[in-house]
């Protein structure tokens, strides 16, 4: 019996170390939680196609990612904002040259129930509503109904973007409902004529009515041309032009397959602009 056990341990050890040796090539990705889903889905597909590469991914926020890039403790820094001048200075002093690649565009759309007659809200009105200062639809041109504010949970990337671009970092009223996913918000809004929610552009379907913001419709073209106000590019930063497996991975993200995954995650693809806008007009 003990002989069998020894053999078993030996085999297990072989497998363990063998596997370790096979995954020699490592890419480390850190940073924005907004970019996290993109990185997650694309790296899964990339690792499936390239079994020799091991990619480790962690969140922490854009700032963390850039910091790690400057420390050279990451190969790719995900960021939902442009790198700041101060950070560039710091990077240069450490011999790091941050190069940005835009991998997707994040557009967030306010949605209401199709029975709601409000068509447009401007940024200020949205901000007031989410802060709990406007509480009735009649104050923004709708029926005399209470507004049920639906938000994403405060740690989601969508929430973060909304808080930044609409609320300007002001606090969302505690009365706001929290839903754990874009899909759950669509579900809640589609069943509730009191509700106001916000979702990534990719999640809009017929059961809800997207609002225009400042009179501008949320479409892939408007998001891409930055005329739609609640949109922003998402970046992957590398030290110098990406090389080796890192370059291969980023190229994969930008490839049609990669961008399809980006769209599937609810973001606006950046490449293949001749194809993408057509999709938006549907």
């Amino acid at each position: 019996m003990s002989k069998h056990l020894k053999q078993l341990i030996f085999v297990a050890l072989c497998m363990f170390f063998g596997a370790g040796a096979a995954f020699a090539e490592n890419i480390v990705i850190k940073g924005s939680t907004t970019v996290l889903p993109i990185a997650q889905t694309t790296l899964e597909a990339f690792m499936k196609a390239n079994p020799g590469v091991n990619i480790s991914l962690s969140g922490g926020g854009s700032g963390e990612g850039v910091k790690a890039l400057i420390d050279k403790s990451t190969d790719i820094a995900n960021s939902s904002r442009e790198i700041k001048d101060k950070e560039i200075e710091l990077a240069k002093s450490k011999g790091v040259n941050p190069v940005a690649t835009v991998v997707a565009i994040d557009a967030i759309v306010p949605i209401v129930n199709p029975r709601n007659k409000v068509k447009n809200l401007n940024i200020d009105q949205l901000s007031q509503i989410y802060q709990g200062k406007i509480t009735n639809w009649k104050e923004v041109g709708g029926d005399d109904l209470q507004i049920v504010v639906i938000s994403r949970d405060s740690s989601s990337g969508t929430f973060e973007a909304w808080a930044e671009m609409v609320l300007n970092k002001a606090k969302v009223a505690p009365r706001a409902q929290m839903q754990a996913s874009n899909g759950a918000i669509v579900q809640a809004v589609s069943k509730n004529r009191y509700a106001l929610g916000y979702i990534g552009l990719g999640y809009i379907n017929k059961s809800v009515k997207p609002l225009t913001v400042n009179g501008i419709e949320a479409t892939l073209e408007n998001a891409f041309s930055k005329t739609y106000p609640v949109s922003r590019p998402l970046y992957m930063y590398t030290n110098g032009k990406p090389t080796g497996q890192t370059a291969k991975y980023i190229n994969f993200v930008l490839s049609p397959t990669g961008q399809k995954l980006v769209a599937k995650d609810g973001y606006v693809p950046v490449t293949g602009t001749t194809e993408a806008p057509k999709k938006g007009k549907k």
């Binding site: 926020g61 740690s155 505690p174 759950a184 069943k191």
Partner: protein
Amino acid sequence: MSRRFREIIIKNIFAVFAVLSVLILGLIVIFLFREGLPIFREVSVSKFLFGNFWYPTYDPPEYGIWPLIVGSLLVTLFACLIAVPMGVLSAIYISEIAPASIKEILKSVIELLAGLPSVVLGFFGMVIVAPWLQETFDLPTGLNIVNASVMLAIMAIPTISSISEDALYAVPREYKEASYALGATKFETIVNISVPAALSGISTAVILGMARAIGETMVVLMVAGGAAAIPQSIFDSVRPMPASIAAEMGEAPYRSGHYHALFATGIVLFFITLAFNLVADYISNKFKEEGSGTL
């Protein structure tokens, strides 16, 4: 291999597995505390427990889980108001009144209810019950305390019913026979003999049902609405503790204040369910000697 030797090996294998499961549980508790306690370097215990604002991702962050605790306790309380009468009464019917054929069907249906995945129940609450509640009572939202309580009650009923039924079944026959012999009716026997004799078991059932309800995550995440504020009516949204942990843990930066705060919320939840279990244990032990004196 001699028989005695084999006996020893088998004994030891069982011992190893028993120790292993306790060990794993112990490690989980240690991990929970190791990850949760650091939050109290940033915020005092009383501020954490009784703070009114939960803004973990803002700068400066606020880690007050009082609205979350209130949310958890409220949905559990209302769930019990529904589940206890239904669970206990169905147990009484099954064990004391129902004829054998109906008894078997009812028992297995209730056990089936226990096997219903909570995500299915949550989906039902979100897609069917919430719009219905909203339309019927003309409410601003159907994702509220009432909805969550009803769904949690459905989850707690099988626990309460089956444990209560076991307790009623364990009441010695002689008690009931003595009651009938004294000329009591069936109803009088149930109310005055069976239920009081099984009371410790029924109480245990109720408390375990409550523990099940307060720890349930998926249902409250989907149907409680998730507003981190003290509710003003039973039709307001709340965010119970498990929902908050489940929704936010995925994106809380590792070892950040937010991460530790969520683990600390887990510790609070752990203590609440532990208290429930200790009370259940105490009750069932205290009345243990109560039993048949005949042979």
